[in-house]
Structure formats: structure tokens, C-alpha cells
Amino acid sequence: MESAPDSHIPSAEHGKQRALIDHSLRHPVMFFFTSGAAWLAVSLVLAMIATMKAHSPDFLGNCSALNYGRVFPAHLNTLIYGWGLQAAFGVAIWLMARLSRQESRSSVAILVAGHVWNVLVALGTICILAGKGSGIYWMDFPEFIWAPMLATYAAIAIWSMIHFRVRRWQHIYVSQWFLLGAIIWFPWVFLAANLFVHVFDIHPLMVTASAAWFRSALMLLFFVPIGVAAAFYLVPKITGRAVYNYSLSQVAFWLLAGLAPWAGMQVLMGAPIPTFMPFTSAAATIAVVIPVLALTVSLFKTLKGKAQTVAHSPSLRFTVAGVIGLLSYAIFGAFLARPDMIAITQFTSAGYGLDIVGLYGFFSLTMFGAIYFIVPRITRREWISRRMIRWHFWLSIYGVLTLLGCIALFGSISQGVAQQDWEQPWYSAFMATRPFLIATSIVWGFMLLSNVFFLFHLTLMWLRLGRRSNHPTLLTHDHSATGPHGREGLIDNN
């Protein structure tokens, strides 16, 4: 833990140190990214089947494993635990090692735990499709999965805490605050919710309330800090600037830590639980906009005047889109938390739309940004095709925007308003959402296509088939005579 004011160290030494850290973590990080992206593809296929089932129930016949009631939770849980957590693991362990200036000495343990995690997610998904799921939103894996999952999580994340503890660099970066927060909050949120839902013998209404809290807490206390940590690393790193205001980011961290645990139960407004629970949650969800606003302002002020860099760097482009997604998630969440909005949207697709905005529009996009940054460093190859990156980017952006419109805004509000007309049978309220459902299943198809580009690209990188060059793959439009990526460097083929 020597505080080394290492400005006198030549930059070659820094490069060497970084390379050693990258090298030490290359197997687990690459494993998390690639298997995460594969789960994302699975999740998108399931999402497509689920929405198709919603508007044309006869699609794929009468197979019980492919019914909406099983495919939909399978889609959401593979998205959360298969893709979301694995991407978070990959980014968190790499980022913490880099910022703490520590090489990993436990890559094998992390890699083994990563395999166990994948087996657990696969087992849980198969159980859901076989009809053995728990049926609790965001916690649909059967009851026996959560304890081994938590143990596996500990085996993966504990090393990052140790890295932080023995860091070689005393200054704590904003990213480290958020990484450490997420690493500590996840076991708390996961354990508390699973104990209340699966273990303790409590009133069923309180089980529902705990599950609603879990959904919001996992998002705000795990996915949000991980995504924010990635953004607070990449933005200053790529632009070469200092973060706009360190104290503001710190205040935002503590505000998030203080407010987010109160949020979540507003979705139960009107249920026979004590009134203070949904109303405090609604107010907390609205107040979460304050730290998110501070973080967004901090990031955009850091980016000011760097539009060209954002346009050229795939990492930065995805990150900026993700940060905008974070702001949209917080504001949309606050909008839905108002009691008069809940009355309309409570029993519609609005909540699921909010999940998608958070998990895809914010979290996944920032993770894509981080992956485009990290993978060339750990594989020591450059991304092969900027065209594939561009397709991935634009299909994701248009997909998320259309999903926001179809599921979260117009679809849910038209359904909610139609449901208010209680003289009509519920079926007619459902029919009000049908055009949006059809659009949604088409959009999932495009999202799947974008992820096929991403997964294919990533797999090629994993197989060490990346470009052997020392020019990074940037999204520029200029073409030189020597090729789209500029002059190739010296290549060592020995």
C-alpha cells in the first residue's frame, strides 16, 4: 500500500503495469464477456418468442415449455443473471484490478466460479421452462438456486475487494467508490430478498413487497453503480481529462446509497400494506433522479467539446448512449412513481418497459462500451470490423428507443387508459396494446440481429482472430489507400 506519486515513472512503466494486469485477468474476463453475450442472445430469442406468444398465442403450437408464462420469466432472468451479472463481473474485476494497480493472482478461482455461475443460470432457466420456476418477478429461478449463486458470487467478487484493500495507489477514483459499493450491496440485497421470499415464514403480502424491493434495489444498488463505474472510468480515460467535479460525484454516490434502498415498493400502491411503504418508495424513486442528475452532469461536463472523440471511439459512443439511458431510466422511473401515474400504469407493461430501459438502454449499453475498450487489451488484438460495431450500435439504439415507445410509454399508457374503462371486458384493453406488441416482437428481432453481430465479433476476438495491428478500430469514415484502418503496423508472425 505504498502511496507512490509515480509522476516520475516513465509512461513505458505504466504501459507495462497495465499489460501485466490485463494479462493476469484475460481468461476470466473474456469468459464472462463471451458467455454473457451468449446468454444475451438466448434472452433476446426468448423475448421474441414471449412477445409473439402474447399477440399470437398459437405461434409454436401448444408446447408447454414455450408458453408465455414460462418463456417470459426465462427471458428476463437470463437477461439479468446470464448477461447482466456476468458482464458486470467481467467489467468489475478488470476495472478494480486496473484502478488498484494490482495483478490478479486468483484468475483460476474466478474462472472456475464463472463456470459454476453459468451452470447455475442454465439450470435455473431449464427449471423455469420446465415449469419449476418460483414465479416471483425478477427471482424466477427455483428456490434451491439462490444459495449456490450467492456463494459463487462471493468466490468471484471477493478478490476485487482484496485488490481494493491492497491497492498500490492511494487515491480512490470515482469508479472505485461505485465498484466497491456494488460489490458490497449485491450480497445484501440478494440475501435479504431471498431470505424474506424463500426462507422466512412471513405474510404473502410481505413476500410480494420484498420481491418488489429486490427488483428496484438490484437495479439501483448493483447495475446502476457498475454501469456508472464503467462510465466514470472510460470518459476521463479516453478524453484524457479529469472528472468535472470529484466532490459532486462523491455526493451523488452517498445520495444513491441513502435513497435507493427505500425505493421499489411503490408498485404495490393500493395493496393492503401500510401506506408509508409505497409512498416512501415513490418519493425515494423520484429523489434518485438527484444523484443520477449529478452523475450525468459530471460525465457530460467532462465530455464537453469532445464530440469528435465520442463519434470515433466505439467505447465512448456506447458509454455516452448508456449515460443518456441512465438519465432516461431515472426520469421515467420517477414519472411512473407518481401516485396518479401508478393508478393508470400499475397493471400494464410499464414496469417491464422500465426494466428494459434500465437493463438494456442504460446497463447493457455501458457494458458494451466497456467491452469494446477492454477486449482489445486482454486479447492483444484489435476489433476486426468497424462496420459490425456500427451495426451493433445503431440497431441497439433504435431498438431501445422503439422498445421505450412500444412497451414503456404508448403501449402501457394506452393499455392503462383502456383498462380504466371497466364497462368493457378486459380483452378490449388487451387489444389496445396488440399493435404495440407486434411492433415489439419485430424490434426484438432487430435487437437479436445487433447482438448476433456483437457475439460473432466477440467470439472471433476470443478465438484470437482479431486484427493484428497497432491501430485501434475507430468509427471514422475516412478511407486511406492502405485500408480502412490506416497503415498496418509491424506484425510479428513468429
Binding site: R18, P236, G270, A343, L490
Partner: protein, 255 residues
């Protein structure tokens, strides 16, 4: 870490597992080496808009808490104005609907539980069971029609040009006046029957009263034609008037 070794290949990226990473990465263009150094964080003055924006958000959040009302009163869990208004009688407020629509909807429900198993959902009847669609007994005198389900019928009967000889039990016993009125109106106006009138709840009450005075007696077709070939007392309802959709009692428009 020999500098001479590195400098001999300044542009060389490391490519294989066998490459000595520490040596290769001092090359100026390798990804890890060309990275910019992460700066320690700055402290630029805070924009006023951030504070104003946060204050507005805080106000909205406070407003929501304030709207909670009796926050810690565990007897009242439903927030004010959240639950729909309740009528003094206990039921929810019904919007009046057009009489013919309400009678037909309710009548179809009664028909499907009481009659459809023999007379078929389309009123076509079956082997030995007379049809209701196109039957002059259905569209004819209302008292005749009402007494068939209320008391039952047996013996020969001619319906729509064909002869039948069977027994029908008093299937309509126990129906409320509103249900009976809806059922009779339904069979008189469904499947191409177009009497166009509505048998009101008052008329159905009269029919039930009449049936009660007669007692448990199953009619023959001849008896019905001889004694009961008249309309039920009471006034038929205008098909376009507004009624309560549950009680089928006429109502004034709400707005």
C-alpha cells in the same frame, strides 16, 4: 526489462502467448501503452442548474410523501382517491346501458346455462326437441311463452310445421324476474326471431305470480292455446330506453 530489446521493435504489438508481455508492452502503440493516463479528479465549480434541478426533484418527491396522508395508520392501507367511489347500496356505480343490449346480454347468459343443452346454443333444437328459432310459440303470445319454462310442457305440439311429442320440465323455476325477462326477450329476438319488443321485469313478475297461483302443473299445448293465448299484463319496454345493466330496471341517463 531491457530497454534495448524493446526499442528494437518500437511498433511491434505482442501477439502470442509466448511473447514476454513486460517487454512487448513498452512498445508505444500497443493498446495498454497508448492509453492516456487516468487523471486524478478535478474540482470545477458546480453549475447552478444542477442545484435548481435537484431542488425541483426534491419538491416533487416531498409532494408525493405529503400526498400519502395517513402514513402510519395500519387500518387504512388504501390511499385517498385511489379506490373507486362506492354506491350507498354497496355495489359499484353502474353506467346505464341501452335496454335491448342489456336484456340480450343477460338473456344469453341465462339461456346458455338453462336451455342451450337441449335447444342448442343456436336455438335449432335437436332430435325430438323443438326449435326455438323460427317458432311461432316463441314469437307469439307472451303469456304462452312465459308459462312453458315456468311450468313445463308435455304431450304433442306442432312447432314450425313439424310435430313433436315429449316432456319438458319446469326449467325456469327459480329464475329471478330480471333473469326471466332477459331470457324471454332473448329467445324472442335471437337467431332470426324478430319480435323487436322487450318483456319488462314487471311483466316477468306478473308471469311468475301467475305461475305460482297455478301451482306445479305441467301444461299441454292445447291447454296453453285455450287458456293462456294472451299477452302478459304490464307494459313492454322501449328497446332504446336506458336500463341498469344488472337489475334491468329503467334508469335515467347519468350525464
Amino acid at each position: 526489462m531491457s530497454d534495448t530489446n524493446n526499442n528494437s521493435f518500437p511498433d511491434k504489438p505482442d501477439l502470442d502467448e509466448t511473447t514476454n508481455v513486460t517487454d512487448a508492452h513498452t512498445g508505444l502503440n500497443s493498446p495498454a501503452a497508448r492509453e492516456k493516463r487516468l487523471k486524478e479528479e478535478g474540482l470545477e465549480p458546480l453549475s447552478l442548474w444542477v442545484i435548481i434541478g435537484s431542488a425541483i426533484v426534491l419538491l416533487i418527491a416531498g409532494g408525493v410523501i405529503g400526498a400519502g396522508g395517513h402514513m402510519f395508520d395500519y387500518q387504512k392501507s388504501a390511499p385517498v382517491k385511489y379506490v373507486r367511489a362506492v354506491q350507498p347500496g354497496g355495489g359499484a356505480v353502474d353506467k346505464p346501458v341501452e335496454a335491448m343490449e342489456a336484456f340480450m346480454r343477460k338473456g344469453e347468459q341465462v339461456y346458455s346455462t338453462k336451455c342451450a343443452s337441449c335447444h342448442q346454443p343456436n336455438g335449432a333444437g335437436g332430435t325430438g326437441i323443438p326449435p326455438l328459432a323460427g317458432s311461432e310459440w316463441v314469437t307469439g303470445h307472451t303469456q304462452t311463452l312465459a308459462l312453458i319454462p315456468l311450468n313445463g310442457i308435455n304431450g304433442p305440439i306442432e312447432v314450425a310445421g313439424k310435430s313433436y311429442d315429449g316432456v319438458m320440465a319446469a326449467m325456469g323455476q327459480g329464475l329471478s324476474p330480471a333473469e326471466l325477462a332477459a331470457l324471454l326477450t332473448y329467445v324472442r329476438n335471437a337467431w332470426g326471431n324478430d319480435s323487436g319488443d322487450i318483456i319488462s321485469v314487471d311483466m316477468a313478475k306478473e308471469a311468475i305470480a301467475l305461475s305460482n297461483t297455478i301451482g306445479a302443473k305441467s301444461f299441454t299445448a292445447a291447454e296453453l292455446q285455450a287458456d293462456h293465448a294472451v299477452a302478459l299484463p304490464g307494459e313492454a319496454l322501449d328497446p332504446t330506453s336506458l336500463v341498469n345493466k344488472r337489475t334491468l330496471v329503467p334508469e335515467k341517463a347519468a350525464e
